[in-house]
Amino acid sequence: MKAVLALKDGTVLFGTGFGAKGERVGELVFNTSMTGYQEALTDPSYAGQILLMTYPLIGNYGTNARDRESGRVHPSGFAVRQVSPDREHREADNSLQAFLGQHGIPAISGIDTRFLVRHIRDKGVMPAIISVSDQEINAKQLVERLKGFDYSSVDFVSQVSTPEPVVYGKGRKVALLDFGAKLGIARELVKRGCEVHMLPCHTSADKIKELEPEGIMLSNGPGDPSIPGYAHRTIRNLAGYCPMFGVCLGHQLIAHAMGGSTYKLKFGHRGSNHPVQDLQKGRVAITTQNHGFAVKELPKGFELTHVNVNDGSIEGMRCRDKGIFSVQYHPEASPGPHDSGQLFDEFVRMM
C-alpha cells in the first residue's frame, strides 16, 4: 500500500502504508520510548494526534491481550521507520499491522522519522495528515485538508472518557475521574487494595461525593487543559473533600481549577526516559511522560515538589492544606519505568 504523511508547513513524505486504508488528520507528535508501542497506541492521551515512534524498528513483538491501556487505539495515525513483517513473542496474539487494521488506524513506514523529529523539534508540533491507499495519493490536496484542523480547540476528553461508570477491584473506595485514563492507573490502585470507580468526565462533584470515596484520582488524558471547563469546576468543588491525586492532564486540570495556568510546549515530552527530581528528597526518577502542555504558574497555596531535570519545567505540586498532590508524569508507567510507583502508595496512605 502507498502512504503519504503531509505536514501543515508543506513537508511531505512518501512511504509504505500498513494498518487501515484511509485518511486521518492529527497533530504530529513523537515518542522516544524504544519499547511499549502497544501501550502508547492504546493510551487515550494520544487522541487527535498522529504518533511517530523515534525508535526505527516497531512491531517486533507484535501485540497482545495484556498490554493495552484502553479498549481502543487512540492516535489518528501512526508513523514508523520500519515495521516488522513478522512478530516473535510468547504473548503475541496479533501482528501490529493486523492490530492497527482492526482498529481502523492508517500507518506509514519507510520514512525518515528522525528528520521529522528534528523538524518538529525546530518548528514545534503541527497538524499533519496521513493517507494510506492502494491508489496514487495526491499530496498537494492532502495539505489543503489540514486547514480546518485546530488541535487546541477540540474537547478530546469528552470523546474518550467512559460513558458509564466502571468499577475495578475491591477495598477502599477511590473515584477515578476518567479524562482519558490509562488502565494502568486503575491497575496500580487495585494492586494497593482499592475499589476504583472509574467515572465519566462530566460527573459532577455532588455525584462523586455521593459515592463517599476515600480518595479522588484525576487521570491523564488528551488535549488542551484549558478546554474542559466542566472538569475545572468539578475539581474546584472537590478540593479538600478528601485526598486528591492527579497525573498528567489531571495535574494540569488541578492547576487550572485552583487558579494556576498552563502553556503549550514546543514539542512536548513523550517517552520513557525523562528525569524528574523530587525537590524534597533530592532523588531523581526516570519517568514516563506524554504531555504537550505544562503548568506555567502554580495555583495559590501550592508548592513545587518536582521539576524536570532537563528543562526545569514543573513536574509536580502539592497543596498540603487541601490534601492535593499531582505530577505531570506517569507513575503508572506502562510503558516505561516503575520508578515512581510509590506515589500511589503515598496517595493510599493519605486516604
Partner: protein
C-alpha cells in the same frame, strides 16, 4: 586532592582497548574537577599513559608490590579501582585486603571494597540475591571435585563451571558429563585466585541480556543501555553478536529486567557503573541474573559508544561524590540523569584470531577467544549487521559447510546461517539448531532473499535502494549482479542514492546535540552538512586483532590531537567501539563506519577534506590508499608510489640493491617447483611467506626441501597472482628495528630497538630493548645511514618502520613498512617524543626540528600471548605473530628493565621454592652447563629430560612422557616445578612431548620459556634481584 588510577595492563583476550578508553576518560573527568591524577599501567600503547592525560605517570608492573611502592611514594588521597578492568580491580582489592590502603590512608573511591567483594564472590552474591528475591541459577561454589560431583548428582548436566575472579571466563566451560566436569573444574580451580569455582546449572538456550547501570551515592540509578545477545546463553557475551537496544523484549519484559537490574545495583550499593547480565527464557518469561561486573567493563565501553553516553566519565564524577543530576550530559548539555534513547540499531561482532591460529578449535563458548570487536550503526537491524560484517575486515567464506558451524557454534556461525538460508533452509530448522531467536533469523533470511532478488532481477532504483537500506555494500551488489563495484557506485549515484549521515545524540533527536558523532544510512536528511574549514580525515585501525592492535588506534588518536593543535578540523573514521579514537571528543567529527573503500570514499565525498591520513591505522588504511587516490582522494604523507615500492617485495628488493643496502638473499616463486629452485639456490634454512601480509601471516622458517613442500601444500596457495617470497634465514643474528619520522627531507630516528631473541621471531612477538645493547657503534651508524637513504628513496613523509638483521658487522635489511608500527607508542614513551604526532605534523607540511632523543634508562618491551584462552595452540614462537599485547619495563640496567617487563607480562618466578624443568633442543644444548650453574646460584632445583640435564650435577632426570612416572606432566601438575624452559624442535604436531609440556604449563599458569636467550636474560635479571626495585614516573626514568 590526588587520586591513583590503576590501568589494566597489557591487552589480552577478554581485556582489550576498552580500559584505555575508560581509564583515559576517567582521568579527564578527575582533572576537570581539579584532582591530580597518578596513573599506573604497564602498557605503553595507551593514551592514558600520555603526558597530557595524567599528572604523574608510572609505567610499572601491575603487581601489589609495585603499587605499594608507588602509593608510599606518591601518597595519594584516594584510589580509583574501577577503571582498570578486572586486573585493576583485583589489585586494588588485594591492596585493600592486605591493609595497604589503610596503612597509607588511601580512600577507596566509588563503589566500596565491601560491595565489590559481595558482587564478585559467587557465594555472597547469591546470598544477596536470595535476600532481595532475585532469581539466580542453582549453583554452588566449590573447592574440590567431590563438592562439584555432589552438586551434579542433585542437578544433572550440563553445568557451567566458572572460576572466581578471572577475566573473560578464562578456565571456565560447559561440562556435559562427569569427565568434562573433572577436566574443566581442575583448570578452573587452578586459575581462580581464591581457589574457588562456581558450578552452576546451565540456562543453555535462554535469551541473554545485559543492562548497563549507573548509580550515584544518593541512590539515583538509571539504565544507560540494554543489549541483547543474538547468540543465546552458552556463548560468552564477549563472544556473542550483540545488538542494542534489545529487539525481542516487550516493554513488560524490559521493565522486568530493568527493575531487577536496579534492585541488584541498589542492594550491592554501586557508586558508579555496573553491568548486569540476565537470562530470560523467552518461552515462559522466567528470568535469572547471571552475574554483575561492579566496574567499568567491555560492555560499558560498548554501551557508551552505542548510546553516546560517556559512562566512564559519569562513573568517575560519581566516585568523587557528585550526584547524577549535578553531572552534565556532554552531548546535549542537559543533565547526565536520564536514560539514553536510541533511534538506530547497533550491532557488535567479535573479531576472532583464528586466521592466526589455524590449528586452534574454532568453537566458541563460555570462554572468550576473540581479541577485539567491531560495532556498526544503522537504521535497521540488517543495515547495522551488514555494516558490522564488513567492518570485520575478514574474508567472508563462500560455500561454507554450514552444518559444521551451527552447533556447537564456531566463529563462522553467522556466515553459516546466511549460507543455510541461501540454500533454502528454513527459519524453524535454524532456530532448532542454534537457539537464536526467530526474529533475528528471519531478518537474516530476508538478507538471503534480497541477495537472490539482486542476482535475478534488473537493478531498478527501488531494488538498489532496498539493498542499500539493508546495508549491502556496493561490492556485494556488484558480486551478485555480475558487475564491478565502481559501476554499481556510479549507477547508485545516478539514481541519487547517496548516504545520509545521522547523529548519535543519546536522545533520539529530542534535544540538539553538540557532538558530531555520525553514522551513515540511506534516508532523506543528511545531518553532516556543510562544514567549513581545513579538514583532514584520519582512517582508523578497525578492530583489535593480532598484528593490528591498540598501538595503531593510539597513533590515529594522536593524529587527531595533532590536527586539532594545528588548527585543522579532524575527522575520524573507525568502527572499533573499545577505543579512544572513537570517543566523541577525540576528534572534531567522528564517523562510525566500516573501513572499506566505499564507506571511506563516501565520507570523503561528504566532507571534501584537504587530505587523508592512511599510514597510522596499520595495514587497513595502507590497503585502501591506492583506490582512494584513484577515486580522487588526496593521500597525505608518503605517496602511493613510495608505499607500493616498500610493499612490493620485488620492487623493494630492487631498490635496496640500488641503494647498496644488503639484504638476505631472496627470491620470488609463482609455483612449488619454482619455490624449490629458489630455496636451493639461496640455501636452507629459508623464511617463506606470501606477499602482501599483515603481521607475518603464514610465515615460516623452513629448514629443508620436505619442509618447504609441506608448507606450500598446507599453508598457502601459490599462483602468479599470489607469489611466495623466500628469504635466506640468517641464523644466530641480531634482529633490530627502527621507527623513524621523515618530513621528506629530515629523517628523525626515534630509536634503534634490538630484539632480545635471535632473528626469526616475529618482531611483534619479540622482547625488545631500547637502546640497543649489543650493536656496535659502526653497526648503529650503518642502520642510521640505511634508514635515511631508504626514507628518502621511498619519499617517506610521516612514519616508517624498518627491520634489520645484523650479523658479523653486516647490516641486512629485512623489510620496510611505510606506516606506523606497533612499536611507535613504546618508542615514544621511551624517548619522550610523540612520534605519531610528529608524523601527522610532517604530513601536513611541517618541518621536523631534530632534537636528540633523551633517554637515560633502559626500556624493554615484552609481550603477552593468548595461549591460555586458545588451548590447543602450541606456544612456540616463530615468524608468525601471535601475541595480543605488550608491556614496558623501565630500569637503570637492561636486566632490571627486562625483568620488570616480563613481570608485567605475567611471567613471575616463584621466590619461595624455585624449581625449573629444562628440555632443550640439540642446537641449544651447549648452553646447558652455563645455564644450569646460573640456576643453581639462584637456588633453583633443576629437573629436566635426560638428554638435557644428564651432565648437570645434582639435576633430576625425568622420564619421557609415557615412559614411566613421574614424568614432566606429573611434575607440572603437582606443582613441583614452577618454571619450564623448553626450546621446541621443528614440526608443530600436537602429540609431541614438547607440545604437551607447554600446554600443561600454560594450564597450570607457570611460565614456559621457549627461547634459550630469553631464559638466559631472565635469569641474569633474577640474579640482580637483590637490589631493591625503585619506582619512578616515566619522566623520572627518562632523566
Amino acid at each position: 586532592m590526588k587520586v591513583l588510577v590503576i590501568g589494566s595492563g597489557p591487552i589480552v583476550i577478554g581485556q582489550s582497548a576498552e580500559f584505555d578508553y575508560s581509564g583515559a576518560q576517567a582521568c579527564k573527568a578527575l582533572r576537570e574537577e581539579g584532582v591530580r591524577v597518578v596513573l599506573v599501567n604497564s602498557n605503553p600503547a595507551t593514551i592514558q599513559t600520555d603526558r597530557d592525560v595524567a599528572d604523574r605517570i608510572y609505567i610499572e608492573p601491575l603487581t601489589p608490590e609495585f603499587l605499594e611502592k608507588i602509593i608510599a611514594k606518591e601518597k595519594p588521597d584516594a584510589l580509583l579501582a574501577t577503571a582498570g578492568g578486572q586486573t585493576g580491580l583485583n589489585i586494588a582489592m588485594e591492596l585493600f585486603r592486605k591493609g595497604v590502603l589503610k596503612k597509607h590512608n588511601v580512600e577507596f573511591l566509588g563503589t566500596d571494597a565491601d560491595s565489590i567483594e559481595t558482587a564478585e564472590s559467587r557465594e555472597s552474591f547469591n546470598r544477596l540475591m536470595e535476600r532481595i528475591g532475585i532469581p539466580v541459577l542453582p549453583g554452588r561454589v566449590v573447592k574440590s571435585l567431590e563438592q562439584a560431583k555432589s552438586f551434579s548428582d542433585g542437578n544433572g548436566f550440563p553445568l557451567i563451571v566458572r572460576p572466581s575472579f578471572t577475566l573473560g571466563g578464562t578456565g571456565g566451560g560447559t561440562a556435559h558429563d562427569e569427565n568434562e566436569l573433572e577436566t574443566i573444574l581442575g583448570q578452573a580451580l587452578r586459575l581462580s585466585s581464591t581457589g574457588e569455582a562456581l558450578v552452576e546449572k546451565s540456562a543453555l538456550g535462554w535469551g541473554e541480556f545485559e543492562y548497563e547501570v549507573v548509580r550515584d551515592a544518593r541512590g539515583n540509578a538509571e539504565i544507560i543501555c540494554n543489549m541483547e545477545n543474538i547468540d543465546p546463553m552458552g556463548v560468552h557475551t564477549g563472544e556473542s553478536i550483540v545488538v542494542a537496544p534489545s529487539q525481542t523484549l516487550s516493554d513488560r519484559d524490559h521493565q522486568l529486567l530493568r527493575d531487577a537490574s536496579l534492585r541488584i545495583v541498589n542492594a550491592i550499593g554501586i557508586k558508579g557503573s555496573c553491568n548486569v547480565q540476565l537470562a530470560m527464557n523467552q518461552q515462559t518469561g522466567e528470568y535469572v541474573v547471571i552475574e554483575v561486573n561492579p566496574r567499568l567493563s567491555r560492555s560499558s565501553a560498548l554501551a557508551s559508544k552505542a548510546t553516546g553516553y560517556p559512562i566512564a566519565r559519569a562513573a568517575t564524577k560519581i566516585a568523587l561524590g557528585k550526584s547524577l543530576p549535578e553531572i552534565k550530559n556532554a552531548i546535549t548539555g542537559t543533565s547526565a540523569a536520564f536514560e539514553p534513547s536510541l533511534d538506530y540499531v547497533v550491532v557488535k561482532i567479535p573479531r576472532w584470531p583464528f586466521d592466526k591460529f589455524p590449528k586452534t578449535p574454532r568453537t566458541i563458548g563460555t570462554q572468550m577467544k576473540s581479541t577485539g570487536e567491531v560495532m556498526a550503526i544503522g537504521r535497521t537491524f540488517q543495515e547495522a549487521l551488514s555494516k558490522a560484517i564488513r567492518s570485520l575486515e575478514v574474508k567472508i567464506p563462500r560455500d561454507l559447510d554450514a552444518d559444521r558451524h551451527l552447533n556447537p557454534p564456531t566463529d563462522q556461525r553467522l556466515f553459516a546461517i546466511l549460507e543455510s538460508f541461501r540454500q533454502g533452509k528454513g527459519v524453524e530448522l535454524l532456530h532448532q539448531k542454534t537457539g537464536i531467536n526467530r526474529w533475528f533469523l528471519r531478518r537474516m533470511e530476508e538478507m538471503a532473499q534480497l541477495e537472490k532478488r539482486l542476482a535475478g532481477q534488473k537493478l531498478s532504483r527501488e531494488l538498489l535502494l532496498s539493498a542499500k537500506r539493508a546495508g549491502f555494500s556496493d561490492s556485494a551488489i556488484a558480486r551478485l549482479t555480475g558487475q564491478e563495484e565502481l559501476e554499481i557506485r556510479s549507477v547508485r549515484k545516478s539514481f541519487g542514492i547517496i548516504p545520509t549521515y545521522k547523529i548519535v545524540d543519546s536522545c533520539a533527536g529530542e534535544f540538539e546535540a553538540v557532538t558530531p558523532y555520525f553514522y551513515s544510512t540511506y534516508e532523506e536528511e543528511n545531518e553532516a552538512g556543510e562544514w567549513k574549514g581545513k579538514k583532514v580525515v584520519v582512517v582508523g585501525a578497525g578492530p583489535i586483532r593480532i598484528g593490528q592492535g591498540i598501538e595503531f588506534d593510539y597513533c590515529c588518536s594522536h593524529a587527531a590531537f595533532a590536527l586539532r593543535d594545528m588548527g585543522y578540523r579532524s575527522i575520524m573514521i573507525n568502527n572499533n567501539p573499545e577505543t579512544v579514537s572513537t570517543d566523541f571528543d577525540s576528534s572534531d567529527r567522528l564517523y562510525f563506519e566500516p573501513l572499506t573503500f566505499e564507506d571511506v570514499m563516501n565520507v570523503i565525498e561528504n566532507e571534501n577534506p584537504e587530505g587523508l591520513i592512511v599510514q597510522l591505522g596499520g595495514q587497513t588504511g595502507i590497503n585502501l590508499a591506492q583506490r582512494l587516490e584513484e577515486a580522487g582522494a588526496k593521500i597525505l604523507g608518503t605517496p602511493i608510489e613510495g608505499i607500493d615500492k616498500a610493499e612490493d617485495r620485488d620492487r623493494f628488493s630492487e631498490l635496496a640493491e640500488k641503494l647498496g643496502i644488503p639484504q638476505p638473499e631472496n627470491g620470488i616463486a609463482m609455483s612449488e617447483a619454482q619455490a624449490l629452485e629458489v630455496a636451493s639456490r639461496i640455501g636452507y634454512p629459508v623464511v617463506v611467506r606470501p606477499s602482501y601480509v599483515i603481521a607475518g601471516r603464514a610465515m615460516e622458517i623452513v629448514r629443508n626441501e620436505s619442509g618447504l613442500r609441506s608448507y606450500i601444500a598446507e599453508a598457502v596457495e601459490v599462483s602468479n597472482r599470489k607469489p611466495v617470497l623466500i628469504d635466506r634465514y640468517i641464523e644466530n643474528a641480531i634482529e633490530c628495528e627502527v621507527d623513524a619520522v621523515s618530513d621528506g627531507k629530515n629523517v628523525f630516528i626515534g630509536g634503534i630497538m634490538e630484539h632480545i631473541e635471535p632473528a626469526g621471531v616475529h618482531s611483534g612477538d619479540a622482547n625488545i630493548v631500547l637502546p640497543s645493547i649489543r650493536l656496535s657503534d659502526d653497526e648503529k651508524k650503518k642502520i642510521r645511514e640505511f634508514t635515511e637513504k631508504l626514507a628518502h628513496a621511498l619519499g617517506i613523509v610521516g612514519l616508517i618502520n624498518i627491520q634489520y638483521v645484523v650479523k658479523g658487522g653486516t647490516v641486512y635489511i629485512l623489510e620496510a613498512n611505510p606506516r606506523a608500527s606497533r612499536t611507535v607508542p613504546f618508542v615514544s614513551k621511551a624517548i619522550g617524543l610523540p612520534l605519531a604526532k610528529l608524523a601527522a605534523r610532517a604530513m601536513l607540511g611541517e618541518k621536523i626540528s631534530l632534537e636528540k632523543p633523551r633517554q637515560k634508562c633502559y626500556a624493554v618491551k615484552s609481550i603477552v600471548f593468548p595461549f591460555l584462552k586458545l588451548l590447543g595452540t602450541d606456544i612456540k614462537l616463530g615468524p608468525e605473530m601471535r601475541s595480543t599485547g605488550e608491556t614496558m619495563g623501565l630500569g637503570e640496567s637492561f636486566e632490571i628493565a627486562y625483568y620488570k617487563a616480563l613481570l608485567a607480562a605475567g611471567v613471575g618466578i616463584e621466590k619461595e621454592r624455585p624449581a625449573a624443568f629444562l628440555s632443550l633442543r640439540d642446537q641449544d644444548k651447549h648452553c646447558v652447563p652455563e645455564f644450569a650453574s646460573l640456576l643453581k646460584r639462584l637456588g633453583f632445583a633443576i629437573y629436566g629430560t635426560m638428554g638435557t640435564v644428564g651432565p648437570v650435577e645434582g639435576a633430576v632426570g625425568v622420564a619421557k612422557i609415557g615412559q614411566g612416572h613421574p614424568d614432566v606432566l606429573d611434575l607440572i601438575d603437582s606443582g613441583t616445578v614452577n618454571l619450564v624452559v623448553n626450546t621446541p624442535t621443528r614440526g608443530g604436531l600436537a602429540h609431541t612431548d614438547g607440545f604437551r609440556m607447554r600446554k600443561a604449563s600454560i594450564q597450570k599458569g607457570i611460565p614456559c620459556i621457549t627461547n634459550i636467550t630469553t631464559a638466559f636474560e631472565l635469569m641474569k635479571a633474577l640474579d640482580r634481584l637483590e637490589e631493591e626495585f625503585e619506582v619512578r614516573t616515566v619522566e623520572e626514568w627518562r632523566g
